[in-house]
Symmetry: C2
Subunit: 93 residues, 2 copies
């Protein structure tokens, strides 16, 4: 899982609502990819990191950056960007 944090593993886990006694071990396993959390826990971690849940699962570096950047845009900017890059229907065939 793609975790980009500024806090310690333990602090992040506690912030995400994990029991302080287990936060360190669990976040460590997630960050190293030994274990994977359930989606609810992943969602809480994402909220604490202020990134979209999808960002944690972005395997491609550029896509990860795009997800972060897109998330920062205003609703209007998102709509304009989508209009720019989404393929128009009825073109390919």
């Amino acid at each position: 899982m793609r975790i980009k944090r500024e806090l310690s593993q333990r602090e992040l886990g506690i912030l995400a609502g994990l029991d302080p006694f287990v936060a360190s071990a669990r976040v460590n396993r997630y960050e190293l990819g030994v274990h994977a959390p359930d989606v609810a826990t992943a969602q809480r971690l994402a909220q604490c990191l202020q990134v979209p849940l999808a960002y944690l699962f972005a395997t491609d570096e550029r896509l990860a950056r795009a997800i972060l950047a897109f998330d920062q845009l205003s609703a209007r900017q998102k709509d304009r960007l989508l209009a720019d890059i989404e393929p128009k229907p009825g073109s390919p065939p």
Copy 2:
């Protein structure tokens, strides 16, 4: 999990390498959100659906569309888009 398929649940599961006898039940559980697959299985499903893994976890509709559209761009287009929308460092403070 965000699954947008054109095949049947069973067909998708088989295509993703699941045992034909269990493909239907498992994909059904994933699609309805009753169970979640491990990341390796999710990755195989994403490949079959020809979407990035992150797309399956996009909770926001616009972000989901953006991920799909971004994935279709050429490497050069991706880099140009990132240059456009990524916040420049040193502006906020």
